[in-house]
């Protein structure tokens, strides 16, 4: 064995993921082939559907908005060494905060309703994560268990709230009253007709702000520093005078509040009312997004866009190629996660070797090594 030379940075962050993505599509292509459809056409459709026209792009961005929020939620907790699986539940209950404020203020103006709803949704979502955080900090209860449990509790709570409390008695559908136009978050198409009928709305601005905010929080504030110390080495953080218990509680709260922003996008931006299960698993996608994005805002942005594109492209695929069902889209998404996330190391060794052969000084090295080897 020889001294491993790391591959150049550009190859690491661009080439390798690209190769992996290609592989994911290739394997997906086989699945498409299995149902007798043309895989190249399918990929074309996905890409066109996700980015090719305004409305498609709008949908991609709309999905990505959710994934940015849940991805950030997972990432912020992960920075402090906490694994928050509860994004789904936190986003779900945050819907209560959003819808209550929106319904109360839908006679005013969205400029009033939206900030207050953001606070309310953040507070409710934050609370839903604070409790597991508190239990972890004070009682040592593992957040992984408690957040899973809180997802289920949230689901039960919301079925009750929607059906027994928020639903007007006379309607059939399990949903809250509709928010008046003044209380809704404006959709981007109101400003740019380019986006067609897509539901992407001003929540995406909050998402971008959240990305920047998290970046600053984690890498440019004392709090973020403390958070990272805790995540990397809890003993060192006590040594550094950081209160681990407070950090855990605050970090979980921030994480839950971020997940709670999904409610703004869905409840105030798209559905205009609270419906059952509006989160639709975005919290779990957030785990994949955060992991693939290496818990870094830029990575999360890219991963969220990728998943948004897969969602929207997959939908397009269903329209265009009727033989392809929604399950196949899930399969394709899973393959993308598998190859670009879990198996990202697949090509690293060959790539390292390739670079070794192509760079002259390293080439000399490689030869020296191999001759040395054959001598022994």
């Amino acid at each position: 064995m020889s001294a491993r030379r790391p591959i150049p940075r550009w190859a690491d962050i661009a080439l390798l993921p690209a190769i992996n993505l290609l592989l994911a599509f290739l394997v997906s292509g086989l699945v498409v082939l299995l149902v007798g459809e043309n895989p190249f056409h399918a990929i074309q459709v996905i890409i066109y559907g996700a980015f090719g026209y305004g409305e498609g792009l709008g949908y991609t961005l709309y999905y990505a908005t959710n994934f940015i929020f849940t991805g950030l939620a997972v990432a912020v907790a992960a920075q402090a060494g906490l694994f928050n699986i509860g994004g789904d539940g936190q986003a779900y209950v945050a819907g209560l905060g959003a819808v209550v404020v929106a319904l109360a203020l839908d006679q005013t103006h969205w400029l009033i309703a939206m900030p207050l709803a953001v606070i309310a949704a953040g507070a409710v979502g934050g609370f839903w994560a604070f409790v597991p955080g508190w239990l972890q900090a004070k009682r040592g209860s593992h957040v992984v268990i408690t957040t899973i449990m809180f997802n289920f509790i949230a689901a039960a709570l919301m079925v009750y709230m929607v059906n027994r409390v928020l639903k007007p008695a006379s309607t059939m559908a399990p949903e809250s009253e509709t928010i008046e136009v003044a209380g809704r978050v404006p959709q981007l198409r109101q400003f740019f007709s380019f986006f067609g009928y897509s539901p992407v709305n001003l929540s995406i601005v909050i998402a971008v702000l959240a990305l920047i905010g998290v970046y600053i929080l984690v890498w440019h504030t004392k709090f973020g520093y403390a958070m990272r110390v805790l995540g990397a080495n809890p003993t060192a953080s006590r040594y550094a005078g950081i209160s681990n218990s407070k950090m855990i509680m605050i970090t979980m709260t921030i994480s839950g509040a971020l997940a709670g922003m999904v409610a703004i996008n869905e409840v105030m931006g798209v559905q205009n009312r609270l419906v059952l299960d509006f989160v639709a698993g975005a919290g779990f996608v957030g785990i994949a997004v955060a992991l693939m994005g290496r818990n870094h805002p830029i990575g999360i942005l890219l991963a969220a866009l990728l998943f948004g594109a897969l969602y929207q492209g997959g939908q397009e695929l269903q329209f265009v190629i009727p033989g392809i069902t929604r399950e196949m889209i899930v399969v394709i998404q899973a393959l993308v996660i598998l190859f670009t996330g879990a198996m990202e190391g697949l090509f690293r060794p060959s790539l390292e070797r390739a670079f070794m052969l192509f760079s002259p000084e390293q080439k000399a090295d490689a030869i020296a090594v191999s001759t040395a080897k054959s001598e022994s």
Partner: protein, 303 residues
């Protein structure tokens, strides 16, 4: 189709079958789509309308908001929505009197029960399912005022509609609680009810489509909700503006939109007396002499 998926053996599948039948009879073709999440509703409608599909038929109460928006955008397209009401000139809303159909199977259940206890397993505690329960309970009480009712639901997440295991356990619990007839209104989970009742040698009642054949000899009957007929009729009628009937269409016992299933599979389970009694109740309801309370009108269920 609603989020439960196309082939749920009951509601969505019935819609699909209706469309298939229409296709077979008329030679027409249809586009169909399953949704992954709520946001895709408007997108799908617009897409179909944009492609010139006419009519567009939707099954499920969750379509209200999306349809309200899109129907206004495509005034020349005819829409038919099942299970909810959208007030627009180009929309036909079809709702079913599930409560009366459930009333009849409730009566059958109480008549069949030897223990005097009948049970209900719903998918999720949502108004539509309550409407089933409320009708069922009233029917059971109507023939046996002392009947004991056990009411339960599989879950609180969308998995509730696809969780035969929990539904089966609920059924076993109900049977342990003395029930010997269990009505399943739980989508895909209902299969677990039918199985568990069969395993225990008790009776079950299917829902939406005729499910008698699934466990012959154990499924007492099925509460029919002829979505297939509705879809088929809608496709036929709404294709032509001349026959298209915008506004509200209520399909009840009279229209044979709801009812109970009687076929070879359960013929031996339902005695002539039982059939006579239920048919009598059915006639009374249709005549208006017997009213069955509809839960969804005021979210209460007077028993």
């Amino acid at each position: 189709y609603d989020l439960g998926g196309k082939f749920d053996k009951s509601f969505n599948e019935a819609a699909y079958n209706g469309a298939e039948e229409w296709k077979k009879e008329t030679g027409g073709s249809f586009l169909d789509l399953e949704l992954q999440n709520d946001a895709q509703r408007e997108q799908a409608l617009r897409r179909f309308a944009g492609q010139g599909a006419n009519p567009i038929v939707m099954a499920g109460f969750s379509w209200t908001a999306a349809l309200t928006t899109v129907a206004a955008e495509f005034p020349d397209t005819n829409f038919v929505v099942i299970d909810t009401v959208v007030d627009a000139p180009n929309v036909q809303s079809i709702v079913f009197d599930e409560h009366t159909g459930s009333f009849l199977v409730g009566a059958l259940a109480a008549l069949k029960s030897e223990t005097g206890t009948v049970a209900f397993v719903g998918g999720m505690d949502v108004p539509l399912i309550h409407k089933f329960y409320c009708g069922y309970a009233q029917g059971a009480k109507a023939v046996n005022p002392d009947v004991k009712l056990i009411e339960s639901y599989t879950g609180t997440t969308p998995a509730a509609w696809n969780d035969p295991v929990t539904a089966g356990e609920l059924t076993k619990a109900a049977i342990d609680g003395g029930a010997d007839v269990v009505f399943a209104a739980a989508g895909g989970s209902g299969l677990g009810v039918l199985q568990a009742a069969k395993d225990a040698g008790k009776f079950s009642i299917g829902v939406d489509s005729n499910q008698n054949y699934l466990q012959p000899g154990s499924v007492l009957t099925s509460m029919l909700k002829r979505v297939d007929v509705a879809v088929k009729t809608a496709l036929t009628e709404a294709a032509d503006d001349a026959t298209f009937k915008p506004g509200l269409t209520v399909l009840g016992l009279g229209e044979e939109g709801v009812g109970y299933a009687l076929d070879d599979n359960n013929a031996s389970l339902i005695t002539d007396d039982m059939k006579a009694k239920v048919d009598e109740l059915s006639a009374e309801i249709q005549a208006g002499t017997l009213t069955v309370h509809d839960y969804t009108t005021d979210s209460t269920c007077p028993l």
